[in-house]
Amino acid sequence: MILWLTFAALAAAVVVLLLYPVFRGGKDAAGRIAYDMTVYRDQLAEIGKDAERGMMTPEQAEAARAEIYRRMLAAEDAENTRTAASSRRGMGRVARIVLAAFLAVGVPAGAFSVYAALGSPSLPARPYAARADDPDIIANTKAEKLAAQLEANPSAAGYKKLGDIYFLANRYDEAAAAYRKETGLAGNDAAAWSALGEAMAMANDGIILPGARHAFAEAYRLNRTDARTRFYLGLAEAQHGDLRRAVAIWRDLQKDTPKDAPWAAMLNGHIAAFSKQGGFAPDTIAPQPPDAGK
């Protein structure tokens, strides 16, 4: 509401400013000739000064003056013919009222209708300082602080935390970078490799490229039981085109998954969907763990 009132006030102020000369009306000022003469008189005075300073000989000054006199005469002539030819004196009251009405209605109406098409009146301003409660910003500040600390004082636990913050904020590239540092610092930590693989996959819209595949393989080498690792290794097979192999890995994972595990539903869904896509029944696939050597 305040927004619209402000707009209305602004438009009203502009209309008042535009209407002012219309209502003040035609106060006569000097005619064109007066403006010309002002300049010519000034030019004459300049010639006088130049001559006095000796920058022009008296003859030169006289010739220059004669030229300006000629221009003054020509200007008088032009003014006389012009005044005779056009005896129009303004456009009258009616035209002024029409103009005033057009200015008072047309300008605001035009502005409001164009604004209606282009503007976003319902979207409030979001200055950075006023976004303290914005989860994105909180994550951002937290992450920046932590990153600065870690640069001075690196630790595997710190990078894990940093990666988690970035991951939750959907900033997967940065999350992957943090997890990669974690894998470097932590030594053989299966969870770190697995998190790295997941962040890399998410950064690529879920596509598991060789880098991410390597991370999962590394995680699996260190820990054969981790559910996330096994799930993604199955997904990698599916993306590679081997749906049977994917379902085999997932069915193997399904055996070890408690009924109430948070990911159980997703896992079952994947098995069902991919079997359907491959045109086979899931029961016909023997459960099989991922390859250890890869």
Binding site: T38, S86, G90, M91, G110, Y115, R126
Partner: protein, 656 residues
């Protein structure tokens, strides 16, 4: 609310511009004061609204409101405050808003200082100005709207091109635009005069201050940009005949010609049709410059984004404004009777010569700039026209201008005598000949010797003109002083600008002839001898934290005759957002040297690639350029441009 307020103000400005373009024009043709009066109040409203819109955008940048798309794309919370503000015009949308903002400043100025103008002329000129504003506001709102929003707002912005993160961004674009857009004022006056059917000495006097102001700003903008390129880009040059540079040089050349032809119109009522044409051409070239830079036709640090629809739109504006005025011109030109006659050898003749050669030089630059574009558009292959072409065509066209520049002010109006003029310049002739002989003896190329000779000729000739007018050493001292005080400021402006050109030429010749350059891999403690200096790489500090970058800084100790007195600190900076590396050259200068150091990449063996230049006289280029602009400013202060409005008593009672 602030971003939306700016958006609404800008839209309101569009409709005010429409009113400003139409109502005063009708009023002027019907002789109605009330309708004409709308011009001034519309110009004031226009100024207030665009200022408000611009202020709102600045505010969005300062508080980092990333719900504004333009801010999110071009800013970042880590940017220092100065670059948050200058970053407003460090991108396409914002710079177009700056363009329109400056246009509204000129409109306001014409409304304020235009009291000495006849009401019809002022109303028509402001109406044309309103039309230009309307065209550009439509362009901004439809293709380059800086107030489009983003929901949800991203956590941070994408940052600005680090090359632009320099104080240069604070002055270069605004001054350039003050120049480009200032020529729109002259254009508006020309179109208004064509509609009125009157171009005369009085008109020239009314227009000249606007041309002077625009020309001064453009000069500062170009020289400043050149200086910025010199100290920041790290290649040691200051001008590359890059199309974007040419885009600013072309209106400058045409504007310079215009400045001089207006003198002839004012003084002698001659060259009128030519002057009007030149006015149209100058503004068209300003628009062409905007088109080349803004359309994305060229890719460089100046073209922020390529978007074909924008290019087509600006091209349409350019065609519209040029076509409109040229059509009017073709209708009215036959009635623009040339006034007085003059002999070929005369002040007018000299100014005409200057006009012809400046226009030819401008044409050559135009050809070289557009030719590759046409080739590309017509799919005839990609070619690039580089410095060799421009040096080859530009220098021959400018040489007569420089030679005549010293001579012209010594010629009388109407009919002058070359013999007398040369006789008055005999000292300059002797000095120039001596300079050529001395420089040629010191094994520089003939081109450099000739350039130095020209610089000496122009500088000495300009000083001799000053001596001549003041009667220096010929008249008694008291008389000289009296004359010097009595001379108009526009005369001193001419002296300063012409002397500035001389210094500029000397700077160009000197810095090309005597520059020395060393590119090598230096290890800590290594020294290089350059231009009589011993430059030692003392150490390299890494990981220096800037506000939003990390720098590697080289510490060079410079010693002369074994005494170490200067240190150069070039940096290589890596910015955080967007992640990009820039070089920051370090310069140090005394008379006549200018040392220039760039720190490059480290090599695997612990050395660093370094580039060191000694560029003698290079600062003269920028100093000379500054003096040229200063001369324009002096001329602008001439009392004749402050002749007041006529009093109403004598000729009152008639409509404008």
């Amino acid at each position: 609310m602030i971003p939306e307020l700016g958006h609404f103000a800008l839209i309101l400005a569009l409709f005010v511009a429409l009113v400003q373009a139409v109502v005063p024009m009708i009023g002027a043709s019907r002789g109605d004061r009330a309708w004409m009066g709308v011009a001034s109040s519309a110009a004031a409203a226009q100024f207030a609204l665009v200022t408000l819109a611009f202020g709102c955008l600045v505010w969005c940048y300062v508080v980092s409101d990333f719900s504004v798309l333009n801010v999110a794309q071009n800013s970042h919370t880590d940017k220092p405050l100065l670059y948050k503000i200058t970053g407003v015009w460090g991108n396409h949308e914002g710079s177009m808003l700056l363009w329109v903002f400056i246009l509204s400043v000129y409109g306001m100025a014409a409304a304020l200082f235009g009291r000495n103008l006849p009401p019809t002329l002022r109303a028509r000129a402001l109406a044309v100005q309103g039309l230009v504003a309307f065209g550009f506001l439509v362009f901004i709102l439809l293709t380059s709207n800086p107030f489009l929003r983003l929901d949800p707002a991203p956590p941070n912005g994408m940052g600005m091109n680090p090359l632009l993160q320099d104080p240069g961004l604070a002055f270069h674009p605004p001054f350039l635009y003050l120049g480009y857009v200032g020529f729109s004022m002259a254009y508006s006056f020309a179109v208004a005069a064509l509609i009125e059917g009157r171009v005369d000495a009085v008109w020239a006097r009314w227009v000249r201050p606007w041309v002077l102001a625009a020309w001064c700003f453009l000069t500062v903008g170009i020289v400043g940009g050149s200086w910025w390129a010199y100290y920041t880009l790290g290649w040691g040059g200051w001008w590359y005949w890059d199309p974007v540079e040419n885009a600013s040089l072309m209106p400058w050349l045409a504007g310079t010609a215009l400045l001089h032809s207006l003198i002839v119109v004012e003084r002698r009522d001659a060259l009128k049709a030519w002057t009007i044409l030149l006015t149209i051409v100058t503004f068209s070239l300003s628009l062409l410059g905007t088109f080349l830079v803004r359309s994305g036709v060229l890719t460089s640090v100046h073209s922020f984004a390529a978007d074909p629809s924008r290019g087509v739109f600006i091209l349409a504006l350019l065609a519209g404004f040029t076509g409109l005025s040229l059509t009017l011109f073709s209708i009215r030109a036959p009635s623009l009777k040339g006034g007085s006659l003059f002999a070929p050898v005369s002040r007018e003749g000299g100014l005409l010569l200057n006009n012809i050669f400046l226009s030819a030089a401008m044409g050559a630059v135009l050809l070289g700039t557009l030719y590759p574009l046409f080739m590309d558009v017509l799919e005839l292959g990609k070619i690039s026209v580089g410095p060799p072409y421009f040096d080859m065509v530009f220098i021959p066209f400018m040489t007569p201008v420089i030679l005549a520049m010293a001579l012209g002010p010594m010629l009388a109006w109407k009919r002058g005598s070359l013999k007398t003029a040369f006789a008055r310049l005999r000292i300059s002739l002797a000095l120039a000949a001596a300079a050529i002989a001395v420089f040629a003896a010191f094994h520089v190329s003939w081109g450099v010797a000739a350039s130095m000779g020209m610089a000496v000729w122009l500088f000495a000739g300009t000083m001799e003109t000053l001596a001549e007018r003041t009667g220096f050493l010929r008249a008694p001292w008291r008389e000289t002083k009296r004359r010097a005080l009595g001379l108009p400021r526009s005369f001193y402006g001419m002296i300063a600008s012409h002397a500035g050109i001389a210094i500029l030429i000397a700077g160009i010749a000197g810095s090309t002839a005597w520059q020395s350059e060393r590119i090598q891999i230096m290890h800590i403690g290594d020294s290089v001898a350059l231009g009589g200096y011993e430059i030692k790489l003392a150490k390299v500090e890494d990981g220096i934290k800037g506000p939003n970058y990390t720098a590697m800084r080289g510490i060079f100790d410079v010693s002369r005759n074994g005494v170490q007195d200067i240190a150069l600190h070039p940096e290589k900076r890596t910015y955080d957002a967007p992640p990009r590396t820039t070089t920051k050259a370090a310069t140090w200068g005394d008379f006549p040297h200018n040392l220039y150091a760039v720190l490059g990449d480290p090599d695997p063996k612990g050395g660093y690639v370094t580039r060191l230049y000694d560029k003698p006289l290079v600062t003269w280029i920028f100093f000379g350029g500054g003096l040229i602009a200063l001369g324009g400013g002096l001329a602008l202060l001439d009392r004749r441009y402050r002749v007041g409005a006529p009093t109403r008593s004598k000729y009152a009672g008639r409509d404008g």
